[in-house]
Subunit: 545 residues, 2 copies
């Protein structure tokens, strides 16, 4: 494609309101334009990349046995009433009223719609399992859209939904999707981790998030430096590895007021659930992780409350837990606010009414990895995908049942699997750029080759360029030819912003049939004979991601 005829509105200056590298460079390189807060157009260059990502997704989803369909963005409110989400979803769900006064949601997600589509057809175990996906525009009215495509209000998503007659069947598809996602993100060139995530108290059990590693990411990932282990910070299990013998026990000592001591301090955190009060003792140097307590107690509500009661003589309707880290202590110090007294030489096992020990703290960098291999490190991640065992939440609410082999009606067991397509583009930008602009991986580059004619008014340069352009197009390369009558500085700056993997520069030595070749990554230019260019480009591409 001739650059003079293409719509690539590059920008010299960094837009003031673009905070992340991906947002800045996608705007500056003419890949996207903002139409409203959180609402973007994909310009020709950007949309070429989106389509390449979509093709990879389609190929891997089809390979994994999923079938593509396309559902509407307009979803009747009645369906969302069936699951109660019309009221629960809040202002993030975009809503509209048609000319007859009927309400619709603009799809933020598709569980209700897909369940309504299949519920009459998937009426027998013989028709299961079934896995359906779509690549579609989604809507979410984010309160504070930011980072460009990373948190937009209209965005492209791949969402898939599977239907099963057993937990084993769901498990099989779940891991098939997990594998497909790994392949998709690998083919996109992304550095990512599949991390254990929290499924919430309601809904299914297993869930993994796919996190692209990037400083700008809003999630912290705990990963092993020696294995594939990775988990969301809140989900990473802490090993109960302390096998040390307890020290000799001293008698409990009671001192007025809050006192410093040379012993391990423990603290108490109190919570209320819907039905009871609980206290958790934990080392003061550790951080309490509510999610773990929620999961242990199987509750969706946990409200922190002040621990303003006697920690030493908790009454019988307060359950007392302690973190595993407290188990082996015998010389600890605890301030009991209720009495305004500090206890020294406290042995939790001896002195507190602990009913059970468990893992209640956040993992820390340097902790051993829960899989026993290596040490935990932290990284920031951008969530680009998620696989999720939904169970029967939606099928029960919407009465989507199948008949099993005995002719008994049972709710369909469901899984759902999402990929943020526009987010994936942002994540790739965060990982593949330098100060000058984008450095696209080969698999996604809008053009493989950027042919730059330094001075197209010079006949030698123009003719050689034209000939090379045609030659590479005939060889099947996607070539962007900068034939514009612009200053060389403008051309080279634009070429950096656009970020094609290989640049071929036709300049002064065109009359000698000599051109320069460089990769976008290291920028070092080498002279080469025009005749040997196809071979040189081919060789060079093999060295690139």
């Amino acid at each position: 494609m001739k650059q003079s005829q293409m719509f690539i509105p590059t920008m010299k200056e960094t837009p003031a309101d673009a905070e992340s590298a991906s947002h800045q460079l996608l705007l500056r390189g003419g890949f996207i334009r903002q139409n409203a807060s959180g609402v973007y157009s994909y310009l020709p260059l950007g949309y070429k990349i989106i389509k390449k990502i979509e093709t990879i997704i389609r190929e891997e989803m089809d390979r994994a046995g999923a079938q593509e369909l396309l559902m509407p963005a307009m979803q009747p409110a009645e369906l969302w009433h069936e699951t109660g989400r019309w009221d629960v979803y809040g202002p993030e769900l975009m809503r509209l009223k048609d000319r007859h006064g009927r309400y619709f949601a603009l799809g933020a997600t598709g569980e209700e719609l897909i369940t309504s589509l299949v519920r009459d057809f998937l009426n027998s175990y013989k028709k299961l399992p079934m896995n359906l996906y779509q690549i579609q525009t989604k809507y979410r009215d984010e309160k504070r859209p930011r980072f460009g495509l990373l948190r937009g209000r209209e965005f492209i998503m791949k969402d898939a939904y599977s239907f099963h007659d057993s937990a084993e069947s769901l498990d099989k598809t779940y891991w098939a999707m997990y594998t497909a996602y790994c392949r998709i993100f690998e083919r996109c060139g992304l550095k990512f981790r599949a991390v254990l995530a929290d499924s919430g108290a309601i809904g299914g059990k297993d869930t993994h998030e796919f996190q692209a590693l990037a400083e700008i990411g809003e999630d912290t990932i705990a990963y092993s430096d020696q294995s594939n282990y990775a988990a969301n910070l809140e989900m990473a299990a802490v090993l109960d590895t302390d096998a040390s013998e307890k020290e000799a026990t001293q008698p409990l000592e009671k001192v007025a007021g809050k006192q410093e001591a040379n012993e391990q301090e423990i603290i108490a955190q109190a919570f209320k659930t819907r039905t009871e009060t609980v206290v958790v003792f934990i080392k003061a140097s550790d951080e309490m992780n509510d999610v773990k307590l929620k999961n242990v107690m199987a509750t969706d509500l946990l409200e922190p409350i002040p621990a303003d009661f006697n920690l030493m003589k908790t009454d019988s309707n307060v359950r007392v837990f302690a973190d595993n880290g407290v188990k082996h202590l015998s010389q600890s110090v605890l301030y009991n606010k209720f009495e305004d007294v500090t206890y020294l030489h406290l042995d939790p096992e001896r002195d507190l009414n602990i009913v059970a020990y468990d893992d209640f703290r956040f993992i820390k960098e340097g902790d051993p990895s829960p899989d026993g291999k290596g040490t935990i490190r932290f990284a920031k991640g951008i969530e680009i995908g998620q696989v999720f065992k939904l169970g029967t939440k939606y099928s029960e609410a919407m009465n989507a049942t199948y008949l099993d082999a005995e002719g008994k009606a049972k709710p369909l067991i469901m899984g759902c699997y999402g990929i943020g397509v526009s987010r994936t583009l942002s994540a790739i930008c965060e990982q593949y750029h330098d100060e000058g602009g984008m450095i696209w991986p080969k698999s996604l580059a809008p053009f493989t080759l950027h042919l730059i004619t330094v001075n197209p008014k010079n006949e030698d340069q123009y003719k050689l360029s034209e000939q090379l352009y045609q030659q590479f197009v005939d060889l099947g390369y996607d070539v962007l030819w900068d034939d514009r009558k612009e200053r060389p500085g403008v051309k080279f700056a634009d070429s950096e912003l656009i970020g094609c993997p290989v640049q071929v520069i036709v300049g002064k030595k065109a009359s000698e049939n000599i051109v320069e070749i460089a990769t976008r990554k290291d920028k070092a230019r080498n002279e080469t004979q025009a005749v040997s260019l196809p071979e040189t480009v081919d060789q060079l591409l093999k060295t690139l991601d």
Copy 2:
């Protein structure tokens, strides 16, 4: 793909509310499902066809030099205020309010948005022309959605917008798009006509609609039986071919009341524009065409009024026109209601104050074709595409200007070009079906081959089918294998509904390696040896559309 694992919810009965063949068969064949009035899901089979249509569109648009982008469906109301269309568009424009109370239109069309995108960049004649397109979901809140995908509220459209610095440049792109559209619809296998259409009084000049021929169509097309001439009924010019000598003139005769006479009757139709009153005389046997009068008078408002004034002595502020058909009359009869008098032997030229003759009537079947070749016939059409010279309507309203070679700011000259993708699918259905279901053209069939195992529990049948399935997949065919444990009647009925071009039936003679082959179109089955099947299928496909 194994049919047992595919989501193809066929229906035995014709849905009561589906009026057209395309609507009925798309539902019955499991291609689409309705989610709300005018809102549909494309199920896996239907979406496969949509994607094939989209691929053809992309290839031809790219070949014609257009660039693909993707704009959002959410369009800020401010843009629609700039052109005034927020108020003009009426209830067909879907609107929504975000959580901050800002209004958006859900794109029914994209002129405002694209103009806002390019107006800063296309600032010089050097960057012109530019042609940008997208394939996108569009929204139109139709009062009465009907015929399934034919008049939906959420639908897929290809819309393109071109920008120019001269009428000649626009003309060139206009005809390039015209040619691309012909290629697209030909590749889709459609019988269609590109017809001259009315551009309306406001906006551009040239416009053609692409009409797929179908009885269900809402538009009447006038076409020549001997040339490519075709026009919307309202636009078809009537040739002024009457070269007959006037008959000898008799004196005008005046008779009281309304009288019958053996002469050609003429009538008068009166209209008011914003500024004047006009009368048009026309043969009583012809039908007045307001659109032609509007265009002759260059007005967008024309209100029919009673002709309750003296037709013989029209006062000077009433302009009097006559249709060409009146020009050669000398023996006509006219009833003047104002006087309650019938005039006989009236010679319009002599007796009426006619200032000009022109073409003011609708063309009729049997009229000579306006291009001088053949005779006019009528047909019904479904509008599947339109090319349109917009001129400067939007660029002027939105201040989208470029600098010409002299450095003078001028409004961009625009064209726009639409294809209804989901409508095209419906039009194909209308043209390619029989009572049993769809008969897809090769270029769009969801699968080329339908392999039907009559009894999959029979080992010979299953093994031979499995072997043939693999063989054809390896040969690059798209094969649907009906491996379901259903009754043969169900299988054959479904196969008719689904409509793959070629069917291979593996039945009782599987043990002898003999199968049956048939085309969906003529259904006649022929036995063939399984070993020669690839060759037979190949031959058969060559005979099909």
